[in-house]
Structure formats: structure tokens, C-alpha cells
Amino acid sequence: MKLVVANLFRLAALALLLILLFRTEWLSFMLVPLTSNNAPAVYTQNSLASLAAGHLQLVIGSIVCSAVLAVVGGIFVTRESGADFLPLSRAIANAGQTFPPVAVLALAVPATGFGAMPTLIALFLYGLLPIFENTVAGLKQVSPQVLDAADGMGMNGTQRLLRVELPLALPLILEGLKVATVINIGTATIGSTVAAKGLGEVIIAGLISDNTAFILQGGLIVGLMAVLIYDAMGLVEAAITRRIGLRAA
């Protein structure tokens, strides 16, 4: 019963998102009353679908880069040869959380100019932290007895890492990935203030021209996208942890 309701909600959200992206005019009965002085009700500067695609490109591109670097870095600092780096990198990850995304975004602008680049850099840097922290936490929580057992079975360092440590750390790493993605969908919205192509453009256009219809469609699309992606990643996470024989936490 619960599952049916949840799936109905998912379907409804997906349907609303698709209508907003491709057939926004179907909703004009809702949007027109929100405008004044015959202002347009549907954002037409750029097609909403292409803005959403640009938004997702920014998020996916940055997340892939930060996931690779953060996981490799997390593995490195938990090996013996990287132990020198562990205390400081943890302190940085902790302090990095106190940087607001807008500040990172704004400070990346002088280095790269306006456009997609500063947004990508900010998203990349900001996505590193949760993934790195969760990778380290996941690898550290593997119990010493399990590691001893792996050594006793004659595994070398690489085998132990790939077959024992990483699978056991995977749920936490995926959780970090989920958090990073959600944060980045939000930050990509603000990326529009530095001229990156994304859905923030619609909201900001609405804020500037005092057009509530724009704010509503922009806000709804970003919100629905964020919620649906978060939900989908949760499902994938549960499926993977079940597959490798760990119960989802």
C-alpha cells in the first residue's frame, strides 16, 4: 500500500516535470494570473528543456570529476603512505564546509571569467567534501578483524582494498555522492548569476522583472528535478547495498 502511494507520487512528479519542460503552455491557466501588465507567462528566452539539459550537464560533469578525485584521495589518505596527509585533509574538508557555495562560485570568477567554467569549478570543489569525508569514514569503519582475516587469506593490498574495504565502505560513499549531487543541483541554480546555462536563469529572470510566473516554473522545475534525482539515487543505493549483501542502513 505504502509502495503504491510512493510510486504514484513519483509518477505524478515526473509527469508534472515533463509537462513543465516540454508543454509549459498547458499550464498557462495557472501561470497567466501570476503575471501583470501582459508580461509573458512562459519563459521563452531559452527553451526550458535545453536549460534543464545544461543544468544537468553541469551537475553530472562536476560530480563525476569530484567523485573520482575524492574517492582516490580518500583511499590514499587511509593507506600507510598517505597517513601524513590524513589529519590536515580532514581539517580542510571540515573547514571547507564553512565556505558558502556562493562564495566559492564568486571567487572562481576572476580565475576563469564568467560562464560555465567558474560554476563547474565551484561545483567540483564543493562536491569533493562530502564524498571525500564519507569515503574516509567508510574505509575507517571497516573493523580491524575483517582486515586481519583478509590478510590471513593471503590477499595483497590491492585485493584487500577492492574486495573487502571498498564494498564495505560503499553505502557511505554512495550516501556522500547523494549529498554532493543534491548540493550541486542547488548550487548550479546560483551558477546562473555568473552566466552559466541552467535553470537558475528562469528564477532570476523572474526575480528581476518581478514576474512570479517565471519564478514558479523555474522553482518548480529545479525543485522537482532535485527531489526526483535524490529519490532515484536513494533507490539505486538501496539496490546496490542489497546486491552486495549489506542491508541498507
Partner: protein, 388 residues
């Protein structure tokens, strides 16, 4: 054999930091000298500035710090050398920019270049590495924060840095800076206070009624996924409607833009960490303790106030720490909907491509978020330490 030992004694982290510092000094400008705000700056490397006495002192201290980072295992000594070097760096940029400013000029401006920022970051990393290794007691960390803050304020108020462009931006905006600082902190702490008042009882209720728990926590984490700009924008709709149709709402200051949607959005975002940590903290209380208290004839409310809450307090406080740091950062976005705060400077600076203005908004925001994280961490650790 002796060689491998010598290599071992090198701090690997130190090698990376020193290499970064040297590369930045050699390749990136230490300062940009601009004739006015929009003119392209003339980059100056640290080496080009060597004739100045302050730069010579700085270079000597930089070399000392590099040496200490590579070979010195004693953390307090490294800390002392690096702190001295940081002070010299700040003094040097002040003196260099004063020397480069034509006398009497009000439009010339000196902007620190990449070399300065990388050196600043590298020395900061050496300092924080030393601090981490010393493992300061909780209150000593707050004392260290206070000491470095004092250092910062002395150098800011001494007039030493007044030739730097960020200080020029500040001096023309000092009154506005104060108002924005107040509204930034009011929004952050106000939303935190409201979230605590709402979240604590909700968390306790969720702990008592397991059926409610899943629904509330899922609903709240759904809100967390909505991007802040989207939520700010969406809240403007109902609030704007309320303001135009309910005179009372408009009278108490509820409007579609400004503080009201910002405050509500911040409270909504803050609820999840507080409610979730209250539930987790209460769940972590040993049931046998509760049984013993019930056996002694304490009522449910007495158990809650006298036993559950004090024991769950460190975990709840961790939630409050997350919320406060997050809120201080998020208030910057509220500037886009007229909520005020340091975000005003950041977005103004982005609009005018004036990076000094961006820094004027970003630096104090990071400073407040960082300080509150350090202070709350110290409180949490000292409570945990005294309980254990």
C-alpha cells in the same frame, strides 16, 4: 641506507606544501598595481619587490617556514614560525601596497595577486596542520581562534592595510557593512532559534511516536533537496498573496520579497538536522537508565527533562552546529530576494566584476561560519569529555 632514512624524515605533506608555495611565489604575481578600479592591473612578483625591507624580512621568514615544514617534527615550534610568517605576510602586503600607491591618490588601488593568496593558504595550512597535531583541548581551540582573530583585527584597525583595495571598498561602505552584518547574523541566529523552538518538541514527539517518525523525517529531507534559490522563489508566491490580501500580514512586515521568505526557508532547511539529531540522541540513551528512573517513580516528563535531554544533548548540539554553519552560508543567497546580509556585496561585486566587493561579502561570511563551527565543536567536545 642513510639516504632512505633522510628521505623518511622529510614530511611528505611538507614537501607538497613547500612545492606549492615556491611555485606560487615564482610564477604568480604577489600584488596588482592598478591606476583605478577598472584599469588592468600591473602584476608584480614577490622577487620584483625585493628591494623593500619588509619583503626581505618576509622572504627570510618564508624560507624559515619552508625549512620548518620540511624538517622540524616539533609541532609547537612549527606553529610559532608559521604564525610569525603569516604576520610578516600581512605586514608586507600592507607596506608594499602603501609604497606602490602614489601619494594623495584616492583612485589607485592595490589588489593582492594569486601569489599572495596561495602563500596565505599554504601558511594557513601549515598552521592548521600544526594545530591539529598538537591536539588542543576544546577551550584552547577557542582561545587560538580568539588569538588569530585579534591578530587580524589589530592589522585591520592599525591602518596598515588601508591601501589595499578591499579596505578601500570597506571604507566607502562602512555603515552599510554594519547593517548587512547585523541583518546577516539576525537571519542566521533568528532562524536557528525558531528552528530549535519548533524542532526540539517535534523531535521528542517523533521519538515517542515511531509511526510519526518516518513520515516527518522523510518530509523534512525532501525539503532539504529543494535548491535554496528555488525554495526562496516558491515561498515568495504565497507570502506575496498573503501580503496583498491580509492587511494584518502586511502590517507586521510579511511581504513577498525580503526577510519573510528568507526566514521561513532557512527555518525549513534547519528543521531536519535538529529533529533528526534529537531523535538519534534520545534513541542513544541507554534504556536501562530510563527504566531505573521509572522505577524510582519519576514521571515521563521528569525522565525527559532530568535524564533523556541531558544525555542526548551533545548529539542535539551537533545538529545545531550543522544548522548554524549551513544557515550562515545560505543567508548569502537570501540577498537575491532582498533579504539583506553579506550576499548583497557578493552579488553586487559579481554584477560589477569587482572582486574586492565579492571578497568584502565572502570573507566575513566564511569567518562567521568558521568561528561558530570552532566554538560549537569546542562546546560539544567539552560536554562529551566531561560526561565520559
Amino acid at each position: 641506507m642513510a639516504e632512505t632514512l633522510a628521505v623518511r624524515r622529510l614530511d611528505r605533506l611538507g614537501v607538497v606544501l613547500v612545492a606549492g608555495g615556491i611555485a606560487a611565489t615564482a610564477l604568480m604575481p604577489f600584488i596588482y598595481v592598478k591606476a583605478n578600479r577598472i584599469a588592468a592591473g600591473k602584476p608584480m612578483l614577490l622577487m620584483q619587490l625585493l628591494p623593500q625591507p619588509s619583503v626581505i624580512i618576509l622572504t627570510v621568514l618564508l624560507l624559515l617556514t619552508a625549512f620548518a615544514t620540511l624538517f622540524l617534527r616539533n609541532a609547537p615550534a612549527r606553529l610559532a614560525v608559521a604564525t610569525l610568517c603569516l604576520a610578516a605576510l600581512i605586514v608586507a602586503i600592507g607596506l608594499v601596497s602603501t609604497a606602490a600607491t602614489p601619494p594623495g591618490s584616492t583612485v589607485a588601488r592595490m589588489t593582492p595577486g594569486g601569489g599572495f593568496w596561495v602563500l596565505f593558504a599554504v601558511i594557513g595550512l601549515v598552521i592548521s596542520d600544526a594545530l591539529v597535531k598538537i591536539r588542543l583541548a576544546p577551550w584552547m581551540r577557542v582561545a587560538a581562534l580568539a588569538a588569530y582573530t585579534a591578530l587580524l583585527f589589530i592589522s585591520l584597525s592599525s591602518g596598515l592595510l588601508d591601501s589595499l583595495s578591499i579596505m578601500k571598498e570597506f571604507s566607502t561602505r562602512a555603515p552599510q557593512f554594519e547593517t548587512e552584518a547585523i541583518s546577516h547574523l539576525l537571519l542566521a541566529f533568528g532562524s536557528l532559534a525558531i528552528a530549535i523552538v519548533l524542532g526540539l518538541p517535534l523531535g521528542i514527539l517523533c521519538f515517542w511516536v515511531p509511526k510519526l517518525r518516518a513520515a516527518v523525517l522523510q518530509g523534512l529531507s525532501l525539503i532539504q533537496t529543494i535548491p535554496s534559490l528555488a525554495l526562496f522563489g516558491l515561498l515568495m508566491l504565497p507570502l506575496g498573496y498573503l501580503a496583498t490580501h491580509v492587511p494584518l500580514a502586511a502590517a507586521i512586515g510579511i511581504r513577498g520579497i525580503g526577510t519573510a521568505p528568507a526566514l521561513i526557508a532557512l527555518v525549513l532547511y534547519s528543521l531536519l538536522p535538529i529533529v533528526a539529531n534529537t531523535v538519534v540522541g534520545l534513541q542513544g540513551v541507554d534504556p536501562s537508565v530510563r527504566d531505573a528512573a521509572a522505577g524510582m517513580g519519576l514521571t515521563r516528563l521528569q525522565i525527559l527533562v532530568g535524564i533523556d535531554m541531558p544525555l542526548a544533548f551533545p548529539v542535539i548540539l551537533t545538529g545545531i552546529r550543522i544548522v548554524l554553519v549551513q544557515a550562515i552560508g545560505m543567508v548569502t543567497i537570501a540577498a537575491l530576494i532582498g533579504g539583506g546580509g553579506f550576499g548583497i556585496f557578493i552579488f553586487q561585486g559579481l554584477g560589477q566584476t569587482a572582486m574586492d566587493l565579492v571578497l568584502l561579502g565572502a570573507v566575513p561570511t566564511v569567518f562567521f561560519a568558521f568561528s561558530s563551527a570552532v566554538i560549537l565543536d569546542a562546546v560539544i567536545d567539552s560536554i562529551r569529555g566531561s560526561a565520559a
